[in-house]
Amino acid sequence: MPDTHNITPENGDVLLLVGTMKGAFLFRSPKGRRSWEMGGPYFPGSAVYAMGYDARAGRHRIWAGPNSMHWGGLLRSSDDFGQSWTNPEEANVKFPEGTDAALKQIWQIVPGREEEPDALYCGVEPAALFVSHDAGQSWSLSKPLWDHPQRARWEPGGGGLCLHTILLDPTDSYRIRIAVSTGGMYVTDDAGTTWRPSNQGVRAEFLPEKYPEFGQCVHKVVQAKGQPDRMYLQNHWGLYRSDDRGESWSDIANGVPSDFGFAMAVHPQDADCAFIIPLESDGFRCTPEGKLRVYRTRDAGKTWQAMTKGLPQEGAYETVLRDAMTVDSLDPAGVYFGTRNGKLFGSADEGKSWMGLADGLPAIVSVRAAVISLPEKLQ
């Protein structure tokens, strides 16, 4: 196994959590985000589709969902920036008896709201939601969603039948929106007791009925932090905005080279600003014309601009997957993405210019960012 290099982030550093098909990596940089140090690989050989950072209640805990082709998957966490990881004897995310299901992949790990510091949410394949109320010690399946009568008609996309997006409404603690490929979006208004499909205006190009109640192949949904009514959605063909917290969606594919893609991020302070990386067609799924372009809107999708400074514009047939783009919380915002060819890029100026942070990593499937704020005793 490869040697692992560890990093020691300091207060104020930006930390990137990078999940790949063959392990996880950490990157740290001072606030200027011009000089990056890489840590890892962690879990070499395991696919890490999901990573998350929990800074609530004085924690500085990294979560990862490594999945070994041989030994299966589970959630592991580190409180020392990757120097050591939990390795629970019993797999912590597992389907209970009676479901006739077995975990294939952990796709998403999301810390709960600030007012529920011990809550965590986890999306998996086969598509299901797990919840923990004890900071990840134990997990339980959301049975109402699992038992939803429409679940039998959800179908796997290219990546499998996965629950990949979990949006916790910041102002309504009973409301959670999830997205499934391929099943569409579902929302609960009663903290998970009941779930209803919520896909109004979202197209399903691959079905006879183009605007069904459910069954869309939603690739990613993001919600603006300071303006939760505003959401953006990258669909399997289709680029959308919602101004009513996801109840209805309008097409905003205005001037982009393709409305197909996976990755999407919203600016941490400006709800009118979002980032996408369009991909060509359904069959090819690479950046159009061999140009790696991040498209940014500053007007909520009325117009989009190609942000290319520092990105390869010739022979760059890249694919950026649904969880492989993110933003940090700084001003100006940092934007980061990784490709299936193992290239990691970052922008410290909201996409105006880009720099390569790594080249030659295993295929990147997940990128998350955090700004480190350590408890006093650890500084």
């Binding site: 041989h70 030994w71 008896e97």
Partner: protein, 96 residues
């Protein structure tokens, strides 16, 4: 059912979950590979979820050999075990 003496050979990635042992010898009652594995899992509970899924099926990229023969060709986990059997758990050739 008589008591059998069984030797389990633990692969490197799972040794930490078996008390840092590469071999675990267990005396117990077992008629089949499935029952033999249950004895191992009772002794080393951390090994269970790495070797079998929630459905109790051996993971697709894990191979189990009893006395040198893969159980895929001898009846799966229902295959019989004998007193003194050596049960080898190995990761299958896979990856890319």
């Amino acid at each position: 059912m008589s008591v059998l003496s069984l030797l389990f050979v633990i692969p490197g990635p799972l040794r930490e979950l078996a008390g840092n042992r590469d071999e675990v010898r267990i005396d117990g009652e077992a008629r089949s590979v499935s029952e033999a594995l249950s004895l191992l899992f009772a002794t080393c509970p951390g090994v269970r979820d790495r070797v079998v899924t929630e459905l109790g099926e051996v993971r697709p990229h894990v191979n189990i050999f009893v006395d040198g023969e893969s159980i895929r060709y001898t009846g799966g986990t229902g295959a019989p075990v004998r007193d003194g059997a050596e049960i080898l758990i190995l990761p299958a050739l896979s990856g890319g």
